[in-house]
């Protein structure tokens, strides 16, 4: 049976690799791979690259803190309930393997083995990326060391999911087991927290990260912390061991611990199948949601309590805007976008009125976040045509013109982004009111508040239009859903898209920025008026450009077919 599962894992991996190599025949993937490799080489792998090692940053104590971080992660997985999808099998596996004459133990072993390919690959990548100071040899041993750490973390994740599932299935008995495990974790955390708490006065006095690390290291080297951290140090020991006998002596107990964890996970009871099947359904839903919402913005919507009214009559395309707004509200994206401005307002109230420096910091942070949101926001908030293209069959049956669809979809991501940036701008201006900056007179502030409205709408519309346009015109160049996978070529594709988007944005900004500059220059005697006029004109020009783009892209949307987008 083990041979059968090994065949399944290896054949799947081989076919995935073949498919990935085969798609390199397509120039876009070949070019993207080249760009991705070049980027990785220059950023991480170039021999002459002069980047500081982690040990230099933390005064050589980083290795001592790693067990603490590992304990924190493990504690978090236990206390937060873990991730049930750790037990997940694919729908095909549930259908074909759960019904096959295969023991539960074999299934769990298969589940563990299936993740090994990813863990091995990650270990190799980490070996390349994270080189301890002075390391130049023993790459293979370092890769094995990373593999031990990652496998241990993965087994812990699986174990948490199993214990939680037992708790659900076996009622009180399961709850006791669950409670016992959590009790042990809490005890370990307490054993580590106590010496840190007693060292708190020294930590407060420490100057800089290196001194703080030294204080922490001293605290963690005292009992009871050293007892609590023992298993975590055991797992991490091979990473810092010298090649040769020392490494073997460090790796042997770590491997024994790993074997013990495998036995613990494999020795699970009958609750496994039920829990695994349930987790598989959850995972299948997540994948479906990811495919529907295209990757990064995928969020499981669980409740329908919040709603927005929709009038039954009026412009039909507004229905698309409403639909996307509903996702925005229900997925929690609105909440997370409102947090920075609200945090800014709170900071203004608490800090800016008391200290000029704090006011500058709040203004600077809000300004930078607004700027970042303008550039990065449209890439991450894909609540528009980029989500909808995989539903193209449905979209094509709707009685809407292509340009109306494009406008509604672009507005779905551009308007919330513009709103969030506007709020951040307001906070920035409010913070600056508590500083000694005199250039921003009340008249100029009001001018900025007025002029920013059309400008931000136009700017965000332009950026979102560009990203939507790229997705519509070159669907193969944009990452689609989760099926496309990762890889260096995907990284390269992303970089190509960013370069293309920046070039297009520069082109779209050419006339509006010229008009804005001329307006401000001509009216410099009355700067506030210049800002308002310039902002209105530049915003109007950008919005006009967006309308023209929507017209052109609408024609493309009318012509494009599902096969072109998905193929």
């Amino acid at each position: 049976m083990i041979g059968t599962f090994a065949y399944l894992i290896l054949a799947s991996a081989r076919n995935q690799l073949r498919a990935r190599v085969a798609r390199l025949r397509n120039p876009r993937y070949a070019i993207a791979l080249l760009i991705g490799v070049t980027y990785l080489w220059f950023v991480y792998l170039r021999p002459s690259h002069d980047r500081p090692h982690t040990d230099e940053l933390f005064g050589g104590g980083v290795a001592a803190l790693l067990p603490l971080l590992l304990l924190a992660f493990v504690a978090w997985t236990w206390l937060s309930g873990g991730d049930r999808t750790a037990l997940a099998f694919t729908q095909a596996e549930v259908t074909l393997l759960f019904t096959a004459p295969v023991s539960r133990r074999t299934l769990v072993l298969y589940r563990i083995a299936r993740t090994q390919l990813k863990i091995v690959l990650t270990s190799l990548v980490w070996t390349l990326l994270f080189q301890p100071a002075g390391a130049g040899s023993g790459a293979l041993l370092r890769a094995v060391s990373y593999w031990i750490v990652l496998s241990s973390v993965n087994l812990n994740r699986l174990g948490v999911a199993l214990v939680r599932a037992n708790g659900d299935v076996h009622g009180l008995r399961g709850a006791r087991r669950n409670g016992l495990a959590i009790g042990v974790v809490v005890a370990l955390v307490a054993m580590v927290a106590y010496p840190i708490a007693t060292s708190w006065p020294l930590l407060k006095e420490a100057s800089g990260p290196a001194a703080m690390t030294r204080v922490m290291t001293d605290a963690l080297d005292r009992p009871p912390a050293t007892w609590a951290l023992f298993p975590f140090r055991l797992v991490l020991a091979p990473l810092s061991a010298a090649p040769g006998t020392a490494w073997l002596l460090a790796a042997a107990p770590a491997l024994l611990l790993l074997a013990g964890m495998v036995l613990w996970v494999v020795g699970t009871d009958a609750a496994f199948e039920e829990s695994a099947a349930e987790a598989s359904v959850v995972q299948a839903r997540r994948i479906e949601a990811l495919r529907a919402r295209r990757g990064t913005t995928a969020t499981m919507v669980r409740n329908a309590s919040r709603s927005i009214p929709l009038r039954p009559t009026g412009r039909p395309a507004v229905a698309l805007l409403w639909k996307n707004a509903m996702w925005f509200v229900r997925s929690g994206t609105l909440r997370s976008m409102l947090l920075p401005p609200l945090g800014g307002v709170l900071s203004v109230v608490l800090l800016s009125s008391r200290s000029e420096n704090a006011a500058f910091v709040v203004a600077g942070v809000c300004g930078v976040v607004a700027g970042m949101l303008l550039l990065v926001g449209p890439m991450s908030l894909r609540n528009d045509l980029r989500n909808e293209l995989l539903h193209l069959s449905l979209l094509k049956t709707l009685p809407l013109r292509g340009r109306d669809v494009v406008l509604a979809e672009v507005a779905s991501s551009a308007l919330p982004l513009a709103g969030a940036q506007y709020l951040l701008l307001l906070v920035t201006l409010l913070s600056l009111a508590f500083t000694s900056v005199t250039a921003l007179t009340p008249a100029i502030r009001i001018a900025l508040i007025i002029g920013a409205v059309p400008l931000l709408v136009g700017l965000n519309g332009a950026v979102s239009m560009i990203h939507n346009g790229i997705a519509l015109l070159f669907p193969g160049w944009v990452r689609l859903g989760v099926g496309d996978g990762g890889g260096i070529e995907t990284l390269g594709l992303g970089m190509m898209n960013i370069a293309l988007a920046l070039a297009m944005l520069a082109l779209m900004l050419l006339v509006p920025v010229t008009v804005l500059t001329i307006a401000v220059a001509l009216l410099r005697a009355r700067l506030a008026v210049g800002i308002v006029v310039g902002g209105l004109l530049a915003g109007a020009l950008l919005i006009t450009e967006c309308m023209l783009c929507a017209r052109a892209l609408g024609g493309s949307l009318d012509r494009v077919e599902p096969l072109h987008v998905q193929g």
Binding site: A292, V301, K323, S331, S393, K396, P399, D558
Partner: protein
Amino acid sequence: MIRVDQLTRHYGDFRAVDGLSFAVGPGEVMGLVGPNGAGKTTTLRCLAGIIAPSSGTVVIAEHDIQRDPIGAKRALAFIPDEPHLFEHLTVEEHLRFIGRLYGVADVEARIGPLLDEMELTEKRRVLSTELSRGMKQKLAIACGLLHDPSVLILDEPLTGLDPGGMRRMRATILARARAGAAVVLSSHLLTLVEELCTSLFVVRRGRCVASGTVAEIVASRPGLAGLSIEELFMALTAEEPAAPGA
């Protein structure tokens, strides 16, 4: 209501649909049948405006789907075998969304009866992700019927429905046809086709091999007389033996 003339569709060098012509009038239910890969779904997708014909014309309720897609789409409903729903909308919100798209002013008045008809009333405030496969199909059907379409295009509409749901769906299709809708129904359930359809359009390898009422088809091929619908289908869609030396 539906007029198709010399409809042809290529995928590269492959001709999926080859010169199909037919018409479906008000109150008629045409069964589009054929083996897998015959070109049924491609034909339906051309009718629904999802893909464009390579040549030929499709006219829906007097609107050429190529020249006036909006007018044509307002008149039709396409119900695919796989329901496409939005995960973040509830059952009744899907209907409100469709109502706005099609300008259904009395959408609120229609939602109740439609949900009753589809047995979804208890689920009206439930997200689509929480529905079973059959309920999702019912919701997709409800979305299609909300704006009272004059043309119904159904691709395996009973997939996932329970026996009760199938019976109600059959009644719904008949009721819509009696109310004057033109219906094109594609299904491998030949008993359903036999029960509902006023005419058949049999395709194989993208071409029409027979069309008309069962009586007309049998009249044109006397050898088929007395066969069951399944035997008729097998006889009409059977591959011709390869020519010697081919």
